[in-house]
Symmetry: C2
Subunit: 625 residues, 2 copies
């Protein structure tokens, strides 16, 4: 964490100095805004947190509720989300208060006594060490609290405007603020008053019944629900021994339970199988009372019993898998028209809650779009950048729905319907990378290059998220996770993995450094100099030597940027390999060096040789104005 370089900071360094729109930000919703986000769910709030790093953009986020969410319904947090939270500065805190899944247990009818269930397997949650981050369960309300804190602490000081309901929108591409949004005040002395907000861009993060989605003529398409589940968050006393372990439980009676322990050591969630819903769509099952759900749970858990003492929340839902064919307002991509309105999260994709995916995919929607809006609105990038949002995220949602259909179908199967009795746990183990959030692999586009030079660093697949590994910082010998040094600050990252020469020797690394600093083709010279350069790019160099064998004074200046009003030198971007884990070996990096280009949302945009400055220049010439 860097601070003090603009002068001594006495208070919490996480609260960045207010800049631009963040200085004297008006309490009341203005008439004209750059970005209007509709809805303060996970997708909307992560976008607010991201855009708070772009203080010269006027971002507002409206919410129909009149205040903070008290109890949310999502709770699954993939390792990829925790990785994202790390970049937003709260991974440690949310981990400390969350339930951590480290293994999953499978219960089936006991062959010797099939009316009783019996534990048949226990599988580790992340057997391959996919991520250094944990898999967590914590209430959505707390995720939103942390994102709200991040948004409020950013230079733009973004806070939700509560109590505004989205009513509709109109787009007129010819105007400065092309989107006219009608909103209605839902409480207070202005209750019922409608007004129009004009926005350059609008993002609908307004959930499964999205008004923004309707307004841009998108519809959810997909299968109809046919299996009902009761879901309850409860406090109970039980002799079921795995009550604090994630469990898939299948009983002989055909019912099944997915048990998800929750944060705090006592609460847990159960998804209880309520059976098929009649084809006529009769809604009787939807009105199943909590007593019935508890009774059903007790039947499935036989011989164990569940004495529910308090119900925090419960509901009945039917699994539906539906998706929109586009995530923005461009009906015909061939038309050349560029998007003005976007939808994210549940507004685009709905599916079973049981794989714990929804909140996670929604946040990645928001993370994907946030920086793109930032770059276009600050005139760094052409507006065509915005078309990549729908292009990239619609595919991810389609993959999610395919995965979730498989998982839901399996969870709803009767034990005797499985050909192989270990099929469920085998599926779970085989596909673990998907629900952990690391299968996303963006196709080539203006922001993801082809993988032509992938062999330079096979451990950083182009299009997938940059996977961290340990290094040692040269200036202070600190052992650090390289990836964790990347804040969600909207910057592009260039990771220069040096060739075998050390600092000060004539080498490809040295020549690249000179080119980066001085060539007119260098992307660093696209955004101007000094602080502007630092605002757009974060460059880190990793030498093949141990940190004590790298002479900091010999390291090229481009890796030691000058920062702040005192023109101090930032020495924290120069690394050697960790003594016990060589990142070059671990990530298959060519000993002749490699340059890894990473997007502001942490996805690898390109891997290339240190010499191929032409490729690097061409990539950023498409992207930066």
């Amino acid at each position: 964490m860097q601070f003090h370089h603009y002068g001594y900071v006495s208070g919490d360094p996480r609260r960045l100095p207010a800049l631009g729109e963040g200085v004297d930000r008006p309490e009341t919703l203005p008439d004209n805004v750059d970005v209007l986000i509709v809805g303060t769910g996970p997708a909307g709030m992560i976008m607010a947190a991201q855009l708070s790093q772009f203080p010269h953009i006027r971002t507002r986020i409206i919410e129909r509720r009149t205040g903070r969410l008290e109890i949310g319904h999502a709770d699954g947090i993939q390792a990829r989300s925790v990785e994202t939270f790390q970049a937003f500065g709260f991974a440690d805190r949310i981990t400390a208060e969350a339930y951590r899944i480290t293994e999953m247990a499978f219960w089936k009818p006991d062959p010797d006594r099939p009316e009783h269930i019996k534990r048949t397997a226990r599988t580790p949650d992340d057997p391959e060490g996919i991520s250094e981050f944990p898999h967590l369960i914590v209430n959505q309300a707390r995720v939103l609290d942390y994102l709200a804190e991040s948004a409020a602490n950013g230079p733009a000081r973004i806070r939700p405007d509560f109590g505004f309901e989205f009513r509709g929108l109109e787009i007129n591409d010819d105007e400065d603020y092309p989107v006219s949004v009608s909103v209605r005040t839902v409480a207070g002395h202005d209750e019922g008053v409608e007004r129009t907000i004009r926005a350059r861009y609008v993002v609908g993060c307004d959930g499964a019944r999205s008004g923004v989605r309707s307004a841009i003529g998108c519809t959810l398409a997909g299968d109809q629900a046919n299996h009902a589940w009761g879901v309850m968050d409860v406090l109970a006393v039980t002799d079921f021994p795995d009550i604090r372990t994630k469990c898939a439980i299948q009983s002989r009676s055909g019912g099944s339970i997915l048990l998800i322990p929750r944060e705090g050591g006592h609460l847990f969630r159960m998804y209880v199988d309520l059976g098929e819903v009649p084809a006529d769509g009769s809604s009787a099952v939807r009105n199943t009372p909590i007593e019935q759900i508890i009774k059903r749970a007790n039947e499935i858990l036989t011989p164990y019993t569940l004495d529910v003492r308090d119900v925090a929340w419960h509901s009945v839902y039917e699994v539906g898998h539906r998706l929109t064919d586009r995530f923005d307002d461009v009906e015909d991509p061939e038309s050349g028209r560029l998007p003005r309105v976007f939808i994210t999260g549940d507004a685009c994709h709905t599916h079973s809650a049981k794989a714990g995916q929804g909140m996670n995919v929604s946040m990645q929607d928001g993370f994907n779009l946030g920086w793109k809006l930032g770059y276009v609105l600050t005139q760094r990038s052409p507006a065509s950048l915005l078309s990549t949002y729908s292009g990239e995220r619609q595919v991810v949602a389609a993959n999610l729905i395919a995965f979730d259909k498989q998982w839901s179908t399996m969870m709803a199967k009767r034990p005797e319907e499985f050909e192989d009795p270990g099929e469920l746990e085998a599926f779970y183990t085989r596909t673990i990378e998907f629900p952990a959030g690391f299968m996303t692999e963006y196709a080539p586009s203006m922001i993801t290059n082809d993988a032509e030079q992938q062999a330079r660093a096979n451990g950083f697949p182009v299009g997938k998220r940059f996977k961290s590994a340990r290094v040692s910082r040269v200036c202070d010998g600190n052992p650090l996770q390289l990836g964790h040094q990347a804040r969600a600050d909207g910057r592009w990252r260039l990771y220069v993995f040096a060739d075998a020469a050390t600092a000060g020797e004539n080498s490809a690394t040295q020549r690249l450094a000179e080119w980066l600093a001085s060539s007119p083709q260098s992307p660093l010279n696209a955004g101007g100099h000094g602080d502007a350069r630092n605002d757009w790019f974060d460059i880190k160099v990793i030498y093949q030597q141990r940190h004590e064998d790298v002479a900091i004074n010999q390291v090229p200046q481009v890796f030691k940027p000058t920062v702040g009003p005192f023109a101090l030198v930032d020495l924290e971007n120069v690394f050697g390999v960790a003594p016990d884990e060589d990142i070059f070996d671990l990530r298959g990096i060519d000993r002749n060096g490699a340059l890894v280009v990473v997007r502001p949302d942490q996805y690898v945009a390109d891997v290339l040789s240190l010499e191929d400055t032409g490729r690097l220049a061409a990539f950023f010439q498409r992207l930066l104005i």
Copy 2:
């Protein structure tokens, strides 16, 4: 972290429900209080944080300043302090914003060119892995912020009463509130108004010029200062390559520098040798201007240069080593009189700042005394418990001063005065456990038993702090640090390391569990039942098996306490060994089992066999009413 068991918690679970004095706590300072803490430095604030866990005690903390400390002068945080912060809930956060010391560099005159300095050694900061916690540097103001948050979030909701100056006190042992404290308001419309606060106990945490110390007739005794140092916290540009590493620098000219990098990546502190102070005590050196300190630093650093761009703080001080002979108001311990007034931290001991000890030792003073006041004022323990404070902490301070004298003397030596050129780094490495804060070893007393059965668990020395190791929690398979499960909640901890039998078998562990639950001699039955029992004791059992081989339903009930209004069962106190680190081997625990008793301030009070319930009963009979 346990929550939800009193019903669903929507907000930050670190904010505990207000209880007792914390409900409608008056904003203004009341006339009668149980504990009056004078001063909001590290000792005072940690005591406030600790007493916030005792909501039925009326604790107030007064401070002459009218608000939060903006810039403090202490910055060294031992691993032991970070361990303590972990128990107060903010180790991760303060670590994230601190500078972390992982190695120290030593610079000396270059033999080939003695007017230049040269790096001669680099030593790791914790080569032996003394602690899993880091050694940090962060401004005292932030430590106080976090302690203030902890005090405010505790059930007693303690917040400082700013703007009150301590004027004097009188003690009349016959009264209900025996200490009359005169305070003066220093600002606002009551400025200058004096009033009397009556307290059962008063704690002077009011620093080196302590008024409370004077009021109880204590004086600091020790050597006089004779060596002056300039200290400055600055932002600078330099070619000195180790500017972000802790360094001891000795130049041929006889001057030396201790360099301490600070939080935020840019700021650093330098202690610059200003030479001997004339024997007549002339104060010229005390008025050394900052320009002179910077000039001196440049001379010492030759051939490197230091271009200071901003000065956050600077001062000149002379090293003094002074100590009071008692830390409370009992002049004659033989008199049988029990203490009513205590002093802590700098009020009792002053010494060089350069070993980074002051704030740490002060906090341990406060941590030592806080729970003792809590136990006496809630009638759990006899008032004689309070005599152990001065007894235990005066020895620690005396050891600190002896250590610091050695270190300061060495730092002030000219290079040619060392017999062995590597003497300084050898001393540093040899004594590392002391400055890390882990050499404290309390002598036997009513709260620390003799070490007669130490051989039962040699890795938990009686009188030293309980050193954590990894285990696996049975109910959820989570890998955890056993010691980190202990919050600073004022509870005694019983760690039952089981014999070789597993849960459910007839065994010493089983018999101990039955005795603990049902014997009238059991300490658990001293404090009443149910929540009272849970409020006083935290009992954890660690089996020798892996977590999956411990059947939670077979574990004795005393290890699965019933908690909260719904009478839920807390399953989180039962552990197996970690797959890759057997705590029994690592800590030398007898395979026949051992019981480790740990005080609320994390020090081991006793180690004994599982069968010796008589010894356990006798220990707590002395201590609990």
